[in-house]
């Protein structure tokens, strides 16, 4: 094909470089009222009363609403397609404002004022009377008998539990000569930290509610706003312009339902809610902290006789995406290294922390840290190189997962491993650095594999729709419900459309703004699904449009449609001779006095397949023993995400994920006061994001094995790059220091304590 596979320039880059690209706040009307939410300063409490008298009288205040004023329509917030089966619907545990505070920062009242300052000042005038309740922050502690209970419907605080049993573990571990390797692995609560905070503004028009919002999932948010307000879904219109990153936080309904309700309470006047950075940290979503306990019974040759996994996922105060995250992580465990005798359990547990939702990788960054740290612990225990062990035991070519139907078509793990090992000279470096080291600076290399899949089938619906409209000049508008959030889908959709229809790249106009009044349904940006699933919708729609064009061409040329083609915007005969331009055809078709046709096409693609997407990281570190500082000196990711649609965008996507993975390994953690549950570092000064100075050159390699189920040979790449760097870095630190970190981030403080406890003695 012509344009897919090429480094085409991003269609939005020029506007973004020029500062012309418009984001939700940039479009807000100047007379919008400002809403500010009162967040509870308790981890767990009942609101007894809120005195609003002084706030209502404050300068500039238009209205005050409390948890006692909101409608009692419980709604779910997770960015999942709706299920018509009640058994599979998301947990509806939210109200617009709540009188049962379940985490420090829960929303209990809202002030609407003429400007931001008036709103903020009035918030301070609200007097809240609480009845304090005991709280719990740790997932395992929340499961203990007598622990504080968060939701009546979930006794014991367990939101979800799933398990896998395979073979006979008790019998298998009696095999003589087995080596038992056991480890505990903790991942922290982290936040997405997109640079644009979530914000939205709402108004009414013609009796309907419109919300302009920074979201990844406009069509899903429309449904949730309808549910939260008790309005028909068609009464709600969501507009999604450019957004400044999402990474899963904006794959939840955040403040859209409240904002929509406020405009209905204020006569349809425009109202805006703009989260501060602190609210983004505490009052949006976070990534689940997951504690994993793994025991492997290993034969001396590295093969597994039996394995056991237990994990506890910290859900925070509300269900959001819920058990799906821990379940996905657990399901990867028996696939990446198949084993005949298995016991796996995953629990998702409510605690009084901010609600955890989707974040880039959806359980796999946590599972990959635990699983891949453990593989290196196994390699050490049996005296085998970590590369050699993984070569032996990683999922073989041809492996098929019965549940998803996924097939490992191309031996992706070994292809990626060998490419990365060769490029980083891993085996030689590993052997060199395994020799005793002396001095203050210690070096190590490490690696990690990751397992991923593409989209959400068969757990949930995969559906994507597209509309194409031919202009008189032969160019085409493309509407999809799938959202550009920075990853570059508008550009790859333009490439796909150009190839599917047969027109130049420049003739494709991807409509970047999703408006649920005009944009056909797409589930949105999550599960690394859009290039894969959206690709089917574009291919189907492009073929329909092409067929209609050739049909009209047959009429004009009096040649059979089967002898005609469309290439680069020209109608050709079967000898490749250009007969007319598409512009001439489109103009004639639209304005024909005899047979006028506005040539358009529309299709829905329901996808009942999924695709494995695998790869690995290789890291090299320098550890300064005196300063207790870990510096990553080299980091490479290798991915088999099928055929690349745009190599430049793919590389950029990998760089960003690697950076996020480095932060996960080294510095990022949202911390909470154990005595009160109060967040301690929810700002960009105290929450340590990595900067320009913390990165080595980020290297991305690809093994392009075409995915047979995709019309463009592509599969997941959005989330995977963030999954393997943390364990690769952890394993490099293990080689450098002998310290087998069981928790990230590996901060200087933790390294100091580990060295004090005598780590590094075997170096």
């Amino acid at each position: 094909m012509g344009y897919t596979g090429k480094r085409m320039p991003r269609v939005d880059a020029k506007d973004k470089a020029a500062g012309r690209a418009k984001y939700a706040a940039d479009l807000c009307v100047r007379d919008a009222l400002v809403a500010k939410v009162l967040h509870a300063e308790r981890a767990h409490a009942l609101v007894r009363s809120i005195n609003t008298d002084r706030a209502r009288q404050a300068e500039g205040v238009e209205a005050v609403f409390t948890c006692f004023d909101v409608p009692k329509y419980y709604f779910p917030t997770a960015g999942h397609p709706w299920s018509t089966d009640p058994e599979h619907q998301d947990v509806a545990d939210r109200l617009l404002l709540t009188d049962h505070v379940r985490f420090w920062g829960d929303d209990i009242a809202v002030v609407v004022a003429r400007d931001e300052l008036s709103a903020v000042k009035a918030l301070r005038e609200l007097e809240v009377e609480y009845e304090d309740l005991p709280f719990v922050l740790d997932a395992q502690a929340a499961m203990e008998p007598g622990a504080p209970q968060l939701h009546e419907a979930f006794p014991g605080n367990v939101l979800g539990h799933s398990s896998i049993r395979r073979g006979d573990l008790e019998a298998a571990i009696r095999e003589p000569g087995l080596i038992r390797v056991e480890g505990w692995y903790d991942t922290p609560t982290v936040q997405h930290c997109h640079i644009e905070n979530h914000n939205c503004w709402a108004y009414m028009e013609g009796g309907r509610v419109t919300v302009v919002t920074s979201t990844q999932i406009p069509h899903i948010v429309r449904r949730i706003v309808g549910q939260a307000l008790g309005r028909p879904w068609g009464d709600v219109r969501i507009i999604k312009p450019y957004i400044g990153g999402g990474f899963g936080n904006k794959q939840d309904a955040l403040y859209e339902p409240l904002c929509a309700w406020l405009t209905t309470m204020l006569g349809g006047r425009p109202v805006r809610i703009e989260c501060t950075r602190e609210e983004t940290f505490h009052c949006n979503r976070v990534r689940h902290a997951i504690r994993s306990h793994i025991i492997s019974w290993v034969r001396p040759d590295g093969s597994f006789a039996a394995r056991k996994l237990e994990c506890w996922s910290n859900q925070g105060g509300y269900a959001s995406h819920g058990h799906g995250i821990a379940a996905k992580g657990m399901n990867a465990f028996p696939q990446i290294y198949p084993c005949d005798n298995l016991e796996c359990d995953a629990w998702t547990v409510f605690t009084n922390l901010p609600p955890a939702g989707a974040m880039r990788g959806y359980g796999i960054p946590q599972a990959t840290f635990a699983g891949e740290a453990h593989i290196d612990d196994v390699a050490r225990a049996i005296g085998m190189s970590p590369l050699e062990l993984r070569r032996k035991i990683a999922m073989p070519k041809g492996y098929r997962d019965d549940f998803s139907g996924n097939v490992n078509w191309s031996d992706s793990f070994r292809a990626c491993m060998e490419a990365g090992a060769k490029a980083t000279d891993f085996e030689r470096r590993f052997a060199e650095l395994s020799k005793p080291q002396t001095g203050n600076i210690r070096r190590g290399v490490g690696m990690a594999l990751y397992w991923y899949n593409t989209g959400v089938w068969p757990i949930s619906l995969e559906s994507s729709s597209c509309r194409m409209v031919l202009n008189q000049d032969g160019s085409v508008q493309v509407f999809t419900g799938e959202t550009e959030i920075g990853q570059g889908c508008d550009t790859v959709y333009a490439q796909m459309t150009a190839d599917a229809v047969g027109i130049p790249f420049e003739s494709v106009h991807v409509v970047t703004v999703q408006d649920t009044d005009t944009t056909p349904y797409g589930s949105g940006a999550y599960a690394s699904r859009q290039t894969y699933v959206g690709g089917f919708a574009i291919d189907n729609t492009g073929k329909i449009l092409r067929g209609k064009i050739l049909d009209y061409a047959a009429k004009l040329t009096k040649l059979p449609a089967g002898q005609l083609g469309l290439r680069e915007g020209f109608i050709e005969n079967d000898r490749g001779e250009r007969l007319m331009s598409l512009a001439e055809l489109a103009t004639e078709a639209l304005y024909s006095m005899e047979d006028s046709r506005h040539i358009t096409a529309e299709a829905t693609a329901q996808i009942k397949s999924n695709a494995y997407s695998f790869g690995c990281s290789f890291a090299e570190v320098e550890v300064d023993l005196r300063l207790c500082r870990i510096r990553v000196t080299r980091l490479m990711n290798v991915h088999d995400c099928g055929k690349l649609i745009n190599p430049q965008l793919a590389e950029a996507q990998v760089h960003g994920g690697m950076s996020m993975g480095m932060g996960y390994a080294l510095s990022e953690q949202l911390r909470f006061d154990e005595k009160t549950g109060r967040p301690l570092n929810g700002n960009l000064l105290d929450y340590k994001l990595l900067t320009f100075t913390d990165h080595p050159r980020l290297e991305a390699l690809f093994c392009e094995n075409a995915e047979p189920t995709s019309p463009f040979g592509t599969k997941a790449l959005g989330e995977p790059p963030a999954c393997p760097p943390a364990p690769a870095i952890r394993n490099a630190v293990l080689q450098a220091t002998g310290i087998a970190f069981g928790a990230i981030p590996m901060t200087p403080e933790k390294l100091f304590r580990a060295l004090e406890e005598g780590g590094g003695s075997d170096v």
């Binding site: 470089a17 020029a18 990153g245 760089h655 960003g656 700002n683 320009f692 100075t693 980020l698």
Partner: protein
């Protein structure tokens, strides 16, 4: 409200002389976005941590969210809107961002381009390490900084080459 105070200021914004009555409590970010509709100046944190609101003031990069609007009196202010040619064509630095794949969500882009432009205007060579340090006041969550670094490196080197 009787305690609300305003002050009249005159300044230059993107080579255009302007004047405005500003609330003495307002930040320069609010003035530029509100009064002059320069929405390329982004809100990321409001407290000088992320760099998204960076503008050039007399050629030096500042976080406009922690720079009072009244301080802009008499100053020469540049936002990213002021870098492109009048016909809309991008500056060499902006073009380098496009070519090197340095732009993803685009929210940190205007601020980063302005800091990078101030380095180019300084006309001094910088080592890779110095360059990373100069840019470190800007947070980006999409790119790992990799392609941004490449773009700035290229634009800086090319501008020095031309002068040399």
């Amino acid at each position: 409200m009787n305690d609300r105070q305003f002050k009249h200021i005159r300044c230059t914004i993107n080579s255009r002389a302007v004047d405005a009555m500003v609330d003495v409590r307002a930040s320069l970010t609010e003035l530029l976005r509100g009064e002059f509709a320069l929405t390329s100046v982004k809100h990321g944190c409001d407290v000088g941590e992320c760099g998204a609101c960076t503008v050039l003031i007399d050629g030096e990069p500042f976080n406009s969210c922690i720079y009072l609007a009244v301080w802009a009196d008499g100053k020469d202010i540049t936002t990213v809107d002021g870098l492109a040619e009048p016909d809309g064509s991008l500056s060499p630095l902006q073009q380098a961002f496009v070519d090197e794949g340095a732009i993803q969500c685009g929210f940190c882009t205007p601020g980063l381009i302005l800091t990078a432009q101030s380095l180019i205007n300084r006309g001094e060579p910088l080592s890779d390490e110095e360059l990373r340090r100069e840019l470190a006041g800007h947070l980006c969550r999409c790119t790992g900084y990799e392609n941004i670094f490449k773009a700035v490196r290229r634009a800086l080197d090319e501008s020095l080459g031309k002068k040399g």
